[in-house]
């Protein structure tokens, strides 16, 4: 008797849990989809607007997509502003930053992880303290430094520091990764007569590829999105990186005459494309990198 009641009540509970789950699912999909629309809305608006003709721009009520898609906008942006030049500058600075950042962070991280030397602890604290100092403090003195050595209005300030350790965060990340690799590997290689450089390059670097990939992706992205450094250091249009070029675009588009917001939107999409493609190609490393920074950092 008692067991049957219990069984019945369990069955009822299971049934109500089932309806609960279905209801919960419906609410969940409604909420998440609604939020999804909120998040994607601006993207859709941008894509739609980038395909509008000058007359479609300000129609009322606004339309997401124009009646005829003006693909011509994507041809016109390349002549409206030296967009190709901006991209080239961004790529040059980006690739050099990424290379320098990855190599130097790995080398320095290796030094901190595997070698004992007087002052190592103190140097490591110094390294980490550079993370606390707001970058804005460095703006003025670095500007003056680059001015004195004649680097203003060149791409040097954007990528040279990356070759000298660059960001402390990346060094820290590499060090942590090297420390997870058993030291016996180094010792065995050393007995076989491998030099420090050989151990670093042929044994440890291949093992730390995930970390290297993470550092490379983030170094490239930060550089790609950086606005304030180019703003301070670059003055001539032909040296602009893409973010600065977009601002130039914005000002040009705003100088009266025929509306050109559609071109601005097309250029914004060009600017957004590389990060998004990079994300879809290397999603794994993205998430890993972020999680490492948040949980182990």
């Amino acid at each position: 008797m008692a067991t049957s009641t219990q069984a019945r009540s369990t069955a009822v509970a299971a049934k109500s849990a089932g309806t609960h789950r279905v209801l919960g699912g419906i609410v969940w999909y409604a909420v998440v989809s609604g939020l999804g629309i909120l998040f994607m809305g601006p993207f859709l608006w941008t894509v739609g607007s980038s395909l509008k003709g000058p007359t479609d721009l300000y129609v009322y009520p606004p339309e997401l997509f124009p009646p005829t898609l003006v693909w011509q906008n994507y041809v016109e942006i390349w002549t409206f502003a030296p967009l190709l030049r901006f991209i080239e500058n961004s790529l040059v600075a980006g690739v050099l930053t990424t290379l320098g950042q990855t190599l130097s962070a790995a080398a320095v991280g290796y030094g901190f992880a595997r070698f004992k030397f007087p002052g190592r602890g103190a140097f490591f604290i110094l390294l980490m303290s550079t993370l606390i100092i707001p970058p804005q403090v460095m703006m003025v003195p670095r500007f003056l430094l680059y001015k004195d050595i004649g680097w203003l209005d060149s791409l040097f300030p954007l990528w040279v520091p990356a070759w000298f350790g660059g960001s402390a965060f990346f060094i820290f990340l590499m060090r942590q990764f090297f420390m997870t690799i058993p030291r016996e590997l180094d010792d065995a290689a050393e007995i076989d007569g491998a030099s420090g450089v050989q151990i670093f390059w042929h044994i440890l670097m291949p093992l730390t590829l995930p970390a290297v990939a993470t550092v490379a992706i983030f170094a490239f992205l930060w550089n790609w999105n950086d606005f304030i450094s180019p703003l301070i250091y670059l003055t001539s249009e032909h040296n602009f990186t893409l973010p600065l070029g977009l601002r130039f675009f914005q000002q040009e588009a705003g100088t009266g005459g025929e509306p050109r917001e559609q071109l601005l939107m097309a250029a914004s999409i060009i600017d957004t494309l590389p990060p998004i493609l990079l994300f879809f190609a290397l999603q794994r490393y993205f998430v890993r990198g972020i999680v490492m920074s948040g949980i182990k950092g």
């Binding site: 699912g25 999909y29 998440v32 939020l35 999804g36 998040f39 994607m40 601006p42 993207f43 608006w45 941008t46 721009l57 009520p61 320095v108 290796y110 030094g111 595997r114 070698f115 004992k116 030397f117 190592r120 140097f123 110094l126 390294l127 550079t130 606390i132 707001p134 970058p135 804005q136 403090v137 460095m138 703006m139 003025v140 003195p141 500007f143 003056l144 430094l145 001015k147 520091p161 000298f164 660059g166 060094i171 420090g196 999105n225 606005f227 304030i228 973010p243 601005l264 914004s268 600017d271 957004t272 994300f279 999603q283 998430v287 972020i290 999680v291 920074s293 948040g294 949980i295 950092g297």
Partner: protein, 312 residues
């Protein structure tokens, strides 16, 4: 025997020292890129900036020592100094708690066991990948009271838009919306998701056996266990929000009527518009002191609520 032992020991020790010395030297070599970079790009600039903050320096003529006058000017005479601090803090207060809570909410939604969470994670993450300049250009149009889609929707619902970026009352909040859009689903949410997935299921089961409902389980299990991530996100969001610059620089440029005149705009203006490098350096140092003390306070405060697994 003992002589042999001693010789052996000294021999090993000597060869050990030689090897240690060699390895120490190699260690310095490996970290030398950073050491050099530290001196040239951090230490030098830091010292220079501290010195400049006590001078009047317009880049053209040599710096002139004026003692603490820059600091006095900032605190007592500069008409926008206190306003810029107020605006930056207002922005932080509006953007940080909301941002962290929304990120956590999204993470909770996306750790539910339903089909399609991966897709939605990607959708929420994408705004964070949009370069800030592009994001700002997009939102500038969305907020436009004449031609933007937002006010059209508001009008259609029977309301009137508040003028957004052109309104002294609403401009700052509009900037907060832009930043929330681009940041709530990005790194912060990913960190929360990883943290939520790390909470052991046994704890929830145990709490359930003890009769804890949904909310009790969330409050007594989830919240303490993810508190290190909450803390990390909170500190980073606070620092980032006090450094807010681009989003205002590209839209309102501090206006209308200084309503979005953030501290970084004030610093940028002093340094690179007025070329008052001494004053800008003083502003930078005031900022350092502020950020460092705020971070210190957050650390102290965290001791009372952040729960470290395996800690005491």
């Amino acid at each position: 025997m003992s002589a042999v032992g001693t010789t052996l020991r000294t021999a090993t020790r000597r060869s050990g020292t030689a090897r240690d010395r060699r390895r120490a030297f190699a260690g310095y070599l490996w970290i030398s890129p950073w050491l050099l970079g530290f001196v040239v790009f951090y230490l030098g600039p830091t010292v220079a900036s501290l010195y400049l903050s006590f001078t009047s320096y317009n880049v053209v003529s040599a710096p002139q020592w004026i003692g603490v006058n820059n600091y006095i000017y900032a605190f007592t005479k500069d008409p926008q100094f206190w306003n810029s601090l107020l605006k930056s803090f207002t922005y932080a207060i509006e953007a940080v708690p909301a941002g962290v809570i929304i990120s956590l909410g999204l993470a909770l939604l996306l750790t539910a066991r339903f089909w399609g969470t991966a897709l939605y994670r990607t959708i929420f993450f994408l705004p964070g990948l949009t370069p800030i300049v592009a994001a700002v250009l997009i939102w500038q149009w969305i907020f436009d009271p004449q031609v933007g889609p937002l006010d059209y929707v508001i009008n259609a619902a029977g309301g009137t838009g508040p003028g957004w970026l052109g309104s002294t009352k609403w401009a700052l909040f509009a900037l907060v919306i832009i930043i929330l859009w681009s940041s709530v689903g990005a790194n912060r949410m990913v960190i929360f998701i990883a943290s939520l997935e790390g909470v052991p299921q046994e704890l929830y089961d145990a709490a359930k056996v003890d009769g804890a409902g949904h909310f009790a389980r969330f409050w007594h299990v989830t919240v303490p266990l993810i508190s290190p991530s909450t803390y990390f996100n909170l500190v980073l969001a606070t620092i980032a929000s006090l450094q807010v610059f681009e989003v205002a620089f590209l839209t309102t440029n501090g206006g209308p009527d200084y309503a979005t005149w953030f501290y970084m705009l004030q610093l940028y203006q002093s340094a690179f518009v007025n070329f008052d490098m001494g004053y800008a350096s003083a502003l930078a140092w005031i900022f350092v002191v502020l950020v460092v003390s705020l971070t210190y306070l957050q650390i102290r405060w965290s001791e009372s609520w952040v729960h470290y697994e395996g800690g005491d």
